[in-house]
């Protein structure tokens, strides 16, 4: 009988270990690639835009002259849009979540609504834009005003806020509601005074995150037909408006005509990103502060 040849197995093992090391390196590099792209993107935008940001830019009117252009109207438009979106989505989102989690009987209808929400979350944002244009702008004849844009945006982020609220409600320990029932409270009293307050931080975190999604969304508003023209500052939900992403869109498109517009777009992106980061940090802080209460 031939003795076992250890040299081949040693070689084989060495080879396998080398492959393992290389693979680990490649996997690590692909993760680093993401980091690199992110920093490149941020560096690019900030280096191009930061020098254009000053008080005049933040508080100025729109203008065709790059040096005099400001984005105050777009900032106001974004805020007004949120004034419409926040109450509408909270009302419908939390209401639906309460119904699905606490009232609906487990059965066909409940799973139908649940599937429906999951499907809505996958519908491209531009389709919501078409729905908004057809229903709000044309059929209800609102025109391209803040109310129409806000309602469209609400439909878009509603699925996200419903799912977030459902998770928050599910996370409330059942002992709390048992104790409430034990003290003789009715179902709605329990929901209103025990479950909702306990779920509120989670709901708010989800709401802020989905709002920040809405702030950055452009496609539905393009479809609704926000004009590139100079419009006065919006003063209410029935005014015409523009928002930060729309401003970025038009300035990027026109940068082939006027080179400085690219810098304006970059500066607006910086403002938008700062706004989004602020919102997200608020959400994370909210989550951390109230996380381990039970």
């Amino acid at each position: 009988m031939k003795p076992m040849d250890f040299s081949t197995t040693t070689d084989r093992t060495r080879f396998r270990i080398t492959v393992n090391t290389i693979a680990k390196g490649v996997f690590f590099l692909s993760t680093i690639f993401c980091l690199l792209v992110l920093s490149l993107l941020l560096y690019r935008v900030f280096s191009q835009g930061i020098s254009w940001i000053n008080i005049d830019f933040l508080t100025g009117k729109q203008s065709t002259q790059a040096e005099r252009a400001g984005i105050f109207g777009a900032i106001l438009g974004t805020l007004w849009l949120m004034v419409v979106v926040t109450p509408v989505t909270l009302f419908f989102g939390v209401g639906t979540a309460i119904y699905l989690e606490l009232y609906a009987r487990k059965g066909r209808f409940q799973s139908f609504i649940q599937t429906n929400i999951a499907n809505l979350a996958g519908v491209p944002s531009i389709v919501y834009g078409i729905l908004g244009m057809t229903v709000f702008v044309r059929a209800l004849d609102l025109g391209n005003i803040i109310l129409a844009g806000g309602l469209t945006m609400s439909l878009l982020i509603l699925p996200i806020i419903i799912v977030a609220s459902q998770e928050a409600i599910r996370a409330v320990p059942y002992q709390l509601s048992e104790a409430s029932y034990g003290l003789g409270a009715t179902k709605w009293q329990t929901v209103k005074r025990i479950i909702l307050p306990a779920a509120l931080p989670g709901i708010l975190t989800g709401a802020i995150l989905s709002l920040s999604r809405g702030i950055g969304e452009t496609a539905p508003l393009v479809v609704i037909g926000i004009p590139a023209l100079l419009i006065p500052f919006p003063n209410g939900i029935f005014d015409k408006f523009t928002v930060l992403p729309m401003q970025i869109y038009y300035w990027t498109l026109d940068s082939t005509l006027v080179a400085e517009y690219a810098n304006l777009a970059a500066a607006t992106i910086v403002v938008l990103l700062v706004l989004l980061v602020t919102l997200n940090v608020t959400a994370i802080m909210l989550r951390n502060k109230f996380q381990h209460r039970f």
């Binding site: 396998r16 270990i17 393992n20 693979a23 680990k24 490649v26 996997f27 690590f28 692909s30 993760t31 993401c34 992110l38 993107l41 690019r44 009302f91 419908f92 209401g95 639906t96 309460i98 119904y99 699905l100 009232y103 609906a104 609504i113 999951a118 499907n119 809505l120 996958g122 519908v123 491209p124 531009i126 389709v127 919501y128 834009g129 078409i130 729905l131 244009m133 057809t134 229903v135 044309r138 439909l155 509603l158 009715t186 009293q189 950055g216 969304e217 452009t218 496609a219 393009v222 037909g225 992403p245 970025i248 990027t252 498109l253 082939t256 690219a262 992106i269 938008l272 990103l273 997200n280």
Partner: protein, 310 residues
């Protein structure tokens, strides 16, 4: 005397209150049910809007012509509406995006779930979330003003608006989605399987390749399908960086229009309501809607049918 409220009155008050509470208890579920129907109404609204207007479009242009013609000239004197150039644009950009997103996304997922220390994971995951949270318009700006000029140095024949650069950037945008969904699927593979593989002498790479990936395959494939659906529906990146050429071709160095970009172009151009070009919007949107719905359905079927229960 202060005590002019009799016990009988108190009982009556109490009863009134109880009746009110009971009525509220009966009303609230009904009220919440109506709110919950809002989401169903949205779906019905989308389907009705798209279908009714698309049917109006198909009374001007035959369905056969729409789905088989390779010529799209909505603005010429004798307009022709073939959706295939747009489908070609959408497919091309999606394929490019998935060529970038699938390998990198999966490698990131494997690194995070199998190789990274918990400390590295804590740093890397928020960064990925950040990448996922950047608005698509910013990616569009990045593709148009940064990636295209760089690519033009490598490929001199590249046009200022082309499908290659938005495709790549779209891939980068989808990486976090594939990575985090696949990582979730990999985390669901029980550690006993991993330990079994390691105890048999396999390296970590072999364990990942032969145990973890097969075990998480349904989740991984579902994440890729969802990524495809996302790429098909993506609008702003392609609108900005890919131009509006409606030629039927698969040349990635040239401008190509996707279905989403066509919708933006038509609505932005103030097409008069009632014209054929206005209705073509809905036919294209319906096609897009069906494409993404199909993808999402496939993804949920894969996760349901092939889910490994440990």
């Amino acid at each position: 005397m202060q005590m002019n409220v009799s016990v009988r009155d108190l009982m009556r008050q109490q009863k009134k209150r109880r009746v009110y509470i009971q009525r509220l208890e009966k009303l609230i579920p009904f009220f919440l049910f109506i709110i919950a129907c809002g989401s169903v109404l949205t779906t019905l609204g989308i389907i009705y809007t798209l279908l009714s207007n698309a049917i109006a479009f198909f009374s001007h242009v035959s369905i056969w012509e729409f789905f088989t013609s390779t010529v799209l000239k909505p603005l010429s004197k004798e307009p022709q509406f073939g959706v295939l150039p747009l489908v070609a644009g959408t497919l091309t950009s999606t394929v490019i995006a998935m060529f970038v997103a699938t390998p990198i996304g999966l490698m990131v997922a494997i690194y995070l779930s199998e190789f990274a220390s918990s400390r590295a994971r804590k740093i890397l995951k928020p960064i990925l979330e950040l990448l996922a949270g950047i608005p698509t318009i910013v990616y569009g700006f990045f593709a148009f003003t940064f990636v295209t000029p760089i690519l033009q140095k490598v490929i001199p024949s590249l046009e200022a608006t082309n499908i290659l650069s938005p495709g790549i950037v779209m891939g980068v945008m989808i990486i976090p989605m594939i990575a985090s969904l696949s990582e979730d699927a990999m985390n669901a593979v029980p550690n006993t399987l991993r330990e079994g593989a390691l105890a048999l002498g396999s390296t970590r790479f072999e364990m990942a390749l032969k145990v973890v990936i097969p075990g998480a395959l349904s989740g991984i494939i579902a994440s890729i399908v969802l990524g495809i659906s996302r790429a098909i529906g993506e609008t702003m990146i392609v609108t900005i960086a890919s131009g509006s050429s409606k030629n039927f071709s698969f040349d990635v160095t040239q401008s190509m229009q996707t279905m989403t970009a066509y919708i933006v172009e038509v609505t932005g151009g103030d097409a008069p309501a009632g014209s054929t070009i206005y209705y073509s919007l809905y036919a294209v949107a319906l096609t897009l809607f069906i494409f993404t719905l199909l993808m999402n359905y496939v993804a949920s079927m894969i996760t349901k049918k092939f889910k490994e229960d440990y």
